[in-house]
Amino acid sequence: MANGTWKIARRGNTQLPLVIVLALAVALVLLGKAQANLFDRARTTIIDRLQPVLVVVHTPVVQFDRWIGSIDELFTVYRENLALKDENARLKQWRNVAVVMQDRVKRYQALLHAVPDPDIHSVLTQVIGRANRPFLQTMILDAGSASNVKPGEAVVDARGMIGRIYLTGQHTSWVILLTDLNSRIPVTVAPGNHQAMMVGDNTAMPTLDTMSQTVTLHAGDQVVSSGDGGLLPPGLPVGTVVSQGGQYRVALLSDAASAQDVEILAFRKPPEQLPTDAQSQLPAVAAGLKPAAPPAPASATPAQPAQVAAAHPKPVAPKVAPPAATATPPAPATAPPAETAAPQATSPNSSETSADQTDQDR
């Protein structure tokens, strides 16, 4: 084609610059590996500048998308209508059950003086762009650092979690989808509360890496965010387990391709507060006795465990004795059980203490 129409220039002496440019490109990849957020500022600046255009252009594009998407639905509309009516009837029944359960949970919470879940602030925003690249699946939201959006926050739609923010500009933010190659989310699989890591691989269903090799999951098990790490709130619905080719995958509840209005959850796990006067609330102290000596170090001589055991006050001693008795008989080996016994003996009390403390705090 080119030869038929265009005259061809002579080959220039580009070998040397080509080698230099090639070396620069390789250096850029290596630099990018060392510092992955190399272009983040430039990227967010460009998209921030394009934001007004994207907002304007987005609506007709979405309408066109819906129109294209609805063409094939014309042939299945009757069957889908029947299925939806059936599903709607079943959902109404479940709604009644849910209302009854909600009332019951409220009563139990009132009886137990349960600590309510922390309020999660959220920012409701609109999807103004989507990018489906071979190595990146992302969407762009119409809210940025000006709306107090921060990287790491969860993005959800009405059905479940879509992804999390990984880059924020002034007025826009980028979402890394759960299906993306770089996405890793700690999740809990119920029933059984199995901990797992959901890893995206650019397919529609992310893989599920369970923490334990002995865990057996079942198709249909519910996957929710575990909240480990403190960035994502626990219990966000994510999807259901699907077994595919000997591998567990997650069929996501949300549909990132069609989501238009999403919420960004500003969840920050409060730092865990230790009880201030836990020492004075130990059972021995509360009983007016001398508190137990600190546990002996691991390199203690065989004589020391006996001293430590003897130093325990009488009320604690019976609780210490059974683990020591069930442990290995030689005297030196009794040191670890004696060490571990003290926390065992005090742990129920300490939980009571923390509960009491919580009540006092309230």
Partner: protein
């Protein structure tokens, strides 16, 4: 005075025509990386920037230099949002391949020309895939990159038409003074 005016116009025209291929590459990158999908995200955006790179590397290699290709790849990396440097390296490697086999590629016409561009696209996507595999140290799924390759090749026909019109109107035929 008249001579210097004419020289100035000639120089500015020459500079503009020299910048047109690179500008076309930048525009192609911006256009293909707009975060808008007309297919509900099913079809990936084509690598439109490969069309001007391929075209002017064959027709006017003096205007599409390795440095220009590096710049176009850099903008693609910034806009695409993947691991940094992936497309820069891919575009430069593709340029090197086209430049080495220039006589063979330039002699193609019709369907063979499309196959020539498909070969260049294959080099670019394969290089990007291999780099990403090394980057993450595991093989990413092949389907998205194959889809990208197919869409890029399909967009070559309208792309080369537009590029040809720009070349005729703004760049002009081969100049004799290089």
């Amino acid at each position: 005075m008249e001579f210097s005016d004419r020289m100035g116009q000639w120089m500015s025209g020459r500079l503009l025509s020299a910048l047109v291929p690179v500008l076309c590459g930048f525009i192609a990158v911006l256009f293909s990386n707009l975060p808008l999908s007309f297919t509900n995200g099913l079809v990936p955006a084509p690598l439109l920037a490969l069309v001007p790179i391929y075209f002017w590397c064959l027709v006017r290699p003096d205007l599409m230099t390795p440095a220009a290709v590096f710049g176009i790849g850099l903008l693609q990396d910034i806009m695409a949002g993947g691991p940094p440097g992936i497309w820069t390296l891919s575009f430069v490697v593709t340029y090197a391949v086209i430049e080495r086999q220039r006589e063979a590629f330039a002699g193609l016409s019709g369907l063979a020309a499309i196959l020539g561009f498909a070969t260049a696209s294959l080099v670019a996507t394969a290089c990007a895939y291999a780099t990403v595999a090394l980057y993450y140290w595991h093989l990413p799924p092949v389907a998205p990159i194959v889809a990208e390759l197919v869409v890029t090749v399909l967009f070559y026909i309208p792309g080369v038409f537009v590029t040809g019109v720009v070349h005729r109107r703004l760049v002009g035929p081969l100049r004799s003074d290089f």
